[in-house]
């Protein structure tokens, strides 16, 4: 049961932002509602005003270009099934397929997910490896932030009260990139999520990792790139990837800042980061070679 609120349904971003500016803390932007309405039912939030952003022109679009622009109100399901996303960045579609459950995917939106900034967000973690930037609109105009700048901490973003997240822009990896996203955990929210993308360059024996991205979610206050792990991968010969898996995994494990909670102790999480960094790396490396490896682990999803 929800407490009463006034529902506003602006049709332009300007109108929406004007409402947010006027209503301030009394207003909550509302898209799919999978997080917002739940918090309201639990009594943790009681906004007198909801600003529905689903009618805003353009917010539901996915646009192609040098980058892929995903509107804020695109649902996980749309992402999962979009031919454009599958063509430009198939891993985004496969990760979207495994977010929560089918009902949440049908209704929950990309923008809502990123703006909610749950440390367990699969998309936020994956998007960090795609040079993601978010576009924020306000009465003052538009600004663009890197996703890393946007997500500041657990459930905390750089969005100002009168700003709306309008879209997220991804830079799909070039051809020759093998990537994987692996999440592990028993609960509704995973214990960890790791995205690994390896772009290989060169041919034959000279094939090397030209660009490695490793992002880890759930085990730190916010999803983060593991730069030390990336550094251990860049420049490595493809044939030697197996040899560096251990040090990469260790670097990944060292990069996180886990806490003891229901999803595991800090010690366990750190160890699992190492385990799944190795596993994700193996899958990504195989895919970079054009091979789809068999990879199934209990309580894990390999996308």
């Amino acid at each position: 049961m929800l407490r009463p609120f006034t529902l506003h349904r602006p049709e332009t971003a300007e109108d929406a932002c004007a409402l947010l500016a006027t209503l301030g803390e009394d207003a909550a932007p509302y898209a799919g509602g999978t997080e917002l309405l739940l918090l309201m039912k639990l009594g943790l939030l009681r906004p007198p005003h909801l600003v529905d952003v689903k009618r805003i022109a353009g917010f539901g679009d996915i646009a192609d270009g040098p980058s892929l622009t995903i509107g804020a109100t695109v649902t996980h399901r749309t992402l999962e099934r979009s031919p454009l996303v599958r063509a430009r960045c198939p891993l985004v579609a496969s990760v979207a397929r495994h977010v929560a459950n089918v009902r949440v995917r049908n209704v929950g939106t990309v923008g809502g997910n990123l703006a909610f900034a749950d440390p367990h967000s699969d998309l936020a973690t994956l998007f960090l490896t795609l040079d993601a930037t978010v576009e924020l609109v306000s009465p003052r105009g538009r600004r663009e932030l890197s996703l890393a700048e946007f997500v500041r901490g657990p459930w905390e973003t750089a969005r100002r009260p009168d700003e709306l997240l309008a879209s997220v822009r991804l830079s799909p990896w070039p051809a020759g990139t093998g990537a994987a996203y692996v999440k592990f955990g028993v609960h509704e929210r995973p214990t960890l999520g790791i995205a690994v993308a390896l772009r290989l360059d060169g041919a034959g024996e000279r094939t090397r990792v030209a660009d490695a991205r490793v992002a880890i979610g759930c085990v730190s206050p916010r999803p983060m790139r593991a730069e030390a792990a990336e550094a251990r991968l860049n420049g490595v010969a493809a044939a030697e990837l197996g040899d560096v898996t251990g040090v990469v995994a260790d670097a990944a494990a060292e990069s996180v800042d886990p806490a003891d909670d229901l999803h595991g102790s800090a010690e366990y999480k750190r160890e699992m980061v190492a385990v799944f960094a190795r596993r994700a790396l193996r899958v990504a490396a195989a895919r970079a070679r054009g091979v789809e490896p068999a990879a199934r682990f209990p309580h894990a999803v390999v996308a």
Binding site: L2, L37, L38, V102, R103, V107
Partner: protein
């Protein structure tokens, strides 16, 4: 929409066009159960985890417990009461009965509608596909084996 003011919505529920007046904060589950007397969808976990409240909006499964009724304006909603065509049961309902996939029945409505959405999307699902789709549909009585069997059998019957 003002919190106290009623909003008129037009929804096709189980094939019947309905015009309803709801408050903006009304949840679809309560409107279906209390206003339309369609008691088949149930409130269980109330957190979108269990699926007991599943209904289909324009063919897609949603958690009616966490879905505003006003969002259904202009849409068609399918509840368990709309699965059968008069006396003729949907193949899923038939399959659930024949396979013994119903015990206390509290999850049944949600399971049937989720399966219906799956089969519309994928007429020949593998067992993996079914398990993937059922990730958000809990049952505490059956242990799931007969539910999965029933869905696979129904998919054969439907094809």
């Amino acid at each position: 929409m003002d919190g106290a003011a009623l909003v008129r919505i037009r929804v096709v529920v189980n094939g019947s066009a309905r015009e309803l007046e709801v408050v903006p904060h009304a949840l679809l589950l309560d409107v279906l159960r209390d206003t339309l007397d369609l008691k088949g969808a149930k409130r269980s976990c109330d957190t979108q985890v269990c699926g007991a409240c599943t209904v289909l909006v324009d063919g897609q499964a949603v958690s009616a417990c966490t879905y505003l009724a006003v969002e259904a304006d202009g849409s068609s909603v399918l509840t368990v009461e709309g699965l059968a065509d008069g006396e003729a049961l949907d193949p899923l309902q038939r399959a659930f009965l024949d396979a013994g996939a119903v015990q206390c029945g509290f999850c049944t409505s949600g399971m049937l509608l989720t399966a219906r959405a799956l089969l519309r999307e994928n007429a020949a699902p593998s067992r993996e596909d079914v398990l993937h789709y059922l990730r958000g549909s809990l049952c505490r009585c059956t242990g799931y084996r007969k539910i999965v069997e029933a869905i696979l059998i129904a998919s054969g019957a439907t094809r």
